[in-house]
């Protein structure tokens, strides 16, 4: 498998990542010229263009262009399949929305620097490699690339102490997780003797190797590391602080994209490499899933800081998404994939809503800032209601369809009790989502709070809101795509 020269097909397969990298470098270099830095329109549009180009590249790479929908590049380092491209599209769309949403915020914070977009793009490259990596090495590299860029983004507001603190905490814990991750990989490697996922699966074919304690320990450490990345309880503790401390647009981006990337990586590793030993991790994940959604929802109940509330709700949603992984079936994978997609839109929408509000021109994240939004701007409030209902899994929203999928997958795979727990959790979660609704519709508006005027931001809101509803009324495209994307396993 070693030493085969890089072929043109490899480059074609890699074109989205290449595009992103080039775009990133371009931004970095261009920003070196003093005048360009002043230009506020330039870099966002540049980044957006890059992302869209990459998106085009991915979509071009979709079947039927790829024969059989499954191939590999770079000597098996990268998988070329619809699964990967699905997540690629997910990341890129999220990124595009995030870029559109963040511009105004950065302006108001007078922190509108090209580096922001640079790191966003590099993070994207990392995520896409996480999703497409077919070898422990490439996956690790992708993970680190994403992680390091995200650390920086979290600490992006240099002058803001909360931003620093969030970044440092995230960094330390993330570093620890990475360490555990790579150590786990080394143990797996020690047993399996190969680093490619397919190789590991073959190696685990024989029983005594599959049952060796070293492998088990490695596997558990691996699950722990992955759990950390998806913010599963009890490895979630970085999430609330990081999400709260980070600049809101960054939170918007990482709470969706990074989580999705982590899930992409997790599912590929578990379902490709460790398929033979499913029994030894599904129960483990079931416990994590239950703990995660319950903890996330309960902890969110009493939050008055809306960013923290949504942070905990993100944790809870990771719990729901895990149900699909627990199921371990093709249906389960599809469920998780759809859930992540749905989650992306509704969560981006909810976070953008926070970007929309400013108290006396300053950043704000308090529950009461939403007071009377219903009277001030019926449309904004209406959109927020949609997002909240979707997050709570109330029809007719994509959030509901997502829950439908994950619960269904769990029941189908015999995890009915988990589904029941999930269902009840959904009811509990509605309680704190409703607190926002209460603020918006049953409180008097305060003059201090004002809505920012930004076309891109409003477009983001409109788009996400539209998808939140149309995703159900016209669900077939996404659903079919998801189902066709799980064929790799």
């Amino acid at each position: 498998m070693n030493g085969s020269p890089i072929s043109a097909s490899d480059l074609v397969a890699l074109n989205p990542e290449i595009t992103l990298t080039l775009g990133a470098c371009l931004i970095l270099v261009w920003s070196a010229f003093g005048k360009a830095r002043e230009n506020r329109r330039l870099f966002p549009s540049l980044a957006l263009a890059t992302v869209l180009a990459a998106l085009a590249g991915v979509l071009y790479g979709l079947p039927p262009q790829i024969a059989a929908g499954d191939g590999s590049a770079f000597a098996g380092q990268l998988a070329v399949d619809t699964y990967g491209s699905f997540f690629a599209v997910l990341f890129l769309v999220t990124a595009a929305l995030a870029i559109a949403a963040s511009g105004k915020f950065l302006d108001d914070e007078s922190a509108h620097h090209p580096e922001y977009y640079f790191f966003m793009l590099t993070a994207l490259v990392g995520m896409m490699i996480m999703a497409r990596g077919a070898d422990l090495i490439s996956i690790f590299v992708g993970l680190e690339l994403q992680a390091l860029s995200v650390y920086v983004l979290v600490g992006y507001l240099r002058a803001d102490r909360r931003s620093n603190e969030a970044a440092l905490k995230y960094f330390i814990l993330g570093g620890l997780a990475s360490g555990i991750f790579v150590y786990a990989l080394s143990l797996v490697y020690a047993v399996a003797g190969v680093t490619s996922l397919d190789g590991i699966r073959m190696a685990l074919g024989d029983a005594e190797m599959a049952s060796s304690p070293i492998l088990i320990i490695g596997l558990i450490l691996l699950v722990v590391a992955l759990g950390f990345k998806v913010a599963a309880v009890p490895f979630h503790l970085w999430a609330p602080d990081a999400y709260t401390g980070a600049p809101t647009p960054v939170t918007l981006f990482i709470s969706v994209a990074s989580t999705a990337a982590a899930f992409a990586m997790m599912m590929r590793i578990l379902f490709v490499a460790f398929a033979p030993v499913t029994g030894s991790w599904s129960a483990l994940l079931a416990v994590l899933s239950l703990a995660t959604m319950t903890f996330g929802n309960v902890a969110a109940l009493s939050q008055d800081n809306i960013k923290r509330m949504l942070a905990y709700s993100s944790i809870a949603h990771a719990g729901y998404a895990l149900m699909g992984v627990v199921a371990g079936t093709e249906r389960g994978i599809a469920a998780t994939m759809y859930y992540l997609a749905a989650y992306a839109f509704m969560n981006v929408g909810a976070w953008s809503m926070i970007l929309l509000l400013r108290r006396q021109g300053l950043v704000t994240d308090r529950l009461e800032d939403f007071s009377g939004l219903g009277q001030r701007s019926g449309w904004a409030a209406g959109a927020m209601i949609l997002f909240l209902l979707s997050l709570g899994g109330i029809p007719p929203t994509i959030g509901f369809l997502g829950k439908w999928y994950v619960f269904g997958a769990a029941i189908d795979a015999g995890w009915a009790w988990l589904a029941v727990a999930g269902a009840l959790n959904a009811a509990v979660s509605m309680y704190y989502y409703l607190r926002i609704a209460v603020a918006m519709y049953m409180r008097e508006p305060s003059d201090e709070v004002s809505l920012v005027r930004s076309l891109p931001l409003n477009l983001t809101l409109a788009l996400t809101a539209a998808v939140t509803v149309l995703g159900v009324l016209w669900a077939t495209p996404i659903v079919d795509w998801v189902r066709s994307s799980t064929l790799i396993f």
């Binding site: 680190e144 600490g155 603190e165 330390i172 620890l176 990475s178 990989l185 080394s186 490697y189 003797g193």
Partner: protein, 102 residues
């Protein structure tokens, strides 16, 4: 006594890993915490190299090279963050940093 076996290396790396983790848990100074993270990475490296030595397979060593690179990058970013923190909070003690909680 016969030559060192793979298990010895695994044991060594396990100890190193443990030391690293404990260090991360107890050291107050952010710099030292970074160091301990490095220990953890190196524990992994030892494994990888040892394994690829005992069963001829280059992947482990290649992996190691990547790990080292990544670790370096990690330190860079880490120090950067510590400095930024120090600028604002005038401390590098991780237990004095707890604005964000609850």
């Amino acid at each position: 006594m016969d030559a060192l076996g793979l298990n010895h290396y695994l044991l060594l790396s396990a100890l190193l890993f443990g030391i690293g983790v404990i260090g991360v848990l107890i050291r107050r100074n952010a710099i030292m915490v970074l160091m301990c993270l490095e220990l953890i990475f190196n524990a992994a490296n030892i494994n990888l190299v040892a394994v690829s030595r005992f069963r001829p397979d280059l992947a482990g060593q290649i992996f190691t090279i990547f790990t080292i690179t990544v670790a370096a990058a990690e330190v860079v970013i880490g120090l950067g963050l510590v400095i930024a923190m120090f600028r604002n909070a005038l401390t590098v003690n991780v237990d004095e940093i707890h604005l964000l909680k609850g």
